[in-house]
């Protein structure tokens, strides 16, 4: 038992003589048990059958799920108490969301960090010293990160961007920030409401800007996560120069608990703090700006949205769109029209549309038909 605990927690036997470490181990077990109990309760109460519940209940379920998942995946309490990180074998495995592996409580690896780590790894036997430039040229050890891509394919094929909606820690933080009661930047999507506004031209202009800015996340994925770590090398570029998640759940806690790390803060820390503050402030006004425009993980999962096993299906026999109902499109915080494109690349599967629909015509799940035998439409409405 003792050996199992030491191996699971990645600790040396001598570490158990420290009462803080023992307290951390006990607290970790308590938190894990509590989180599992919460998930079981939600499942038993059928709280994940979105169409059974109203939007208020679903939003509460969603928030509980996000919070519990964050606690579960970051419950290595020894790290939180001692200002260190987990060094055990569970870090072979990636967690599905943006969860920095340098967070003191993280049990698993961040898939984006892991992707860059594999592509950035060098083969010393093939690397050479270039006398012309006086630099050591590193030859990539792996040209394709099969392990991480395979993991992302498995997760993507099962649930697509459901991870963004319910299991991403940075998404959860942005959701909490959006709850702060300030005026929100939410533009209407249906023509009737746009035309009724004071400046419909301006609204259309901002909708266009928003549409094209969303392609930026694919550029971040290609340039900062794949191209630069593989070709220019030497750095996990996205983590180093962009990722606010690492700064928030890794950098700030570690620097506050560890003086030597705090003393190493410099211009990079300033840059990352500025990016973090910008995202935090913007998140209060705009729903999930990081997920919309920057997140490379969301960009990867988005490709799986139209083909994943977990999909949104529209029961056209119930939908009231022909009667002018736009309840789902107006409720969608990501600005998607679920009736037109139920499995849009931008949909984060937050379930708001399904919970809001007065006819319960949006059915998330693994099935192709309703209980009444009506086929669900998962493709674009022609």
């Amino acid at each position: 038992m003792k050996d199992f605990i030491l191996s699971l927690f990645g600790l040396e036997e001598a570490a158990l003589s420290d009462p803080v470490v023992v307290a951390g181990v006990i607290l970790s077990f308590v938190l894990i048990a509590a989180c599992i109990a919460v998930f079981i309760t939600l499942l038993v109460k059928k709280r994940y059958q979105i169409t059974r519940w109203g939007n208020k209940t679903w939003q509460r379920t969603k928030l509980i799920t996000q919070t519990t998942w964050f606690v579960l995946t970051n419950s290595f309490m020894v790290g939180w108490l001692k200002g260190t990180i987990y060094q055990g074998k569970l870090k072979y495995i990636c967690v599905p969301g943006m969860n920095c592996y340098s967070c003191p409580g993280a049990w698993g690896s961040c898939p984006i960090g892991a992707l860059q780590a594999v592509l950035d790894d060098s083969d010393p036997s093939k690397s050479w010293f270039d006398p012309k430039t006086s630099t050591f040229v590193q030859y990539p050890k792996y040209w394709i990160a099969f392990y991480v891509i395979g993991f992302l394919m498995i997760v993507g094929a099962v649930c697509g961007r459901f991870i963004c909606g319910l299991l991403c820690p940075f998404g959860w933080i942005q959701d909490l920030l959006y709850k702060i009661p300030v005026k929100k930047l939410k533009l209407p999507r249906d023509e009737k409401r746009i035309n009724a506004m004071k400046h419909p031209g301006r609204v259309r202009f901002f909708l266009g800007v928003d549409k094209y800015l969303r392609y930026a996340k694919y550029a971040f994925l290609l340039i900062m996560v794949i191209f630069l770590p593989l070709i220019v090398r030497a750095n996990p570029w996205f983590c180093k120069y962009v990722c606010p998640s690492g700064m928030l759940i890794g950098g700030i806690p570690l620097m506050s608990m560890n003086e030597s790390l705090a003393s190493a803060a410099g211009s990079l820390t300033l840059l990352k703090c500025c990016i973090l503050v910008s995202i935090v402030v913007l998140s209060m006004f705009l729903y999930r700006p990081f997920c919309r425009y920057i997140c490379p993980l969301g960009a990867i999962y988005s490709f799986f949205n139209p083909i994943s096993l977990y999909r949104y299906g529209i029961d056209d026999s119930k939908c009231n769109r022909c009667k002018g109902c736009h309840a789902c499109a107006n409720a969608c915080p990501m600005g998607v029209d679920p009736v037109k494109t139920p499995n849009s690349l931008e949909c984060i599967r937050c379930g708001t549309c399904s919970a809001t629909c007065p006819q319960k015509a949006i059915r998330p799940g693994f099935k192709v038909k309703t209980a009444e035998g009506v086929a669900l439409r998962t493709k674009k409405n022609k």
């Binding site: 780590a117 099969f146 392990y147």
Partner: protein, 50 residues
């Protein structure tokens, strides 16, 4: 329709499992672990901009 609905994700899932096996046998999981068990200073924004 039912077959089409499940065939593509099942294929992607299988390819994903295959990729993971190839990655593990190639030692990529070791690269992930090596990076993840040490505090990644640049990932958490500690240091100088260069």
């Amino acid at each position: 329709m039912k077959l089409k609905r499940y065939l593509i994700p099942a294929l992607v899932l299988l390819i994903g499992v295959g990729f993971v096996i190839v990655g593990i046998s190639d030692g990529e999981a070791g690269s992930v672990l090596r990076k993840a068990v040490a505090i990644c200073m640049e990932c958490i924004g500690i240091g100088e901009f260069h």
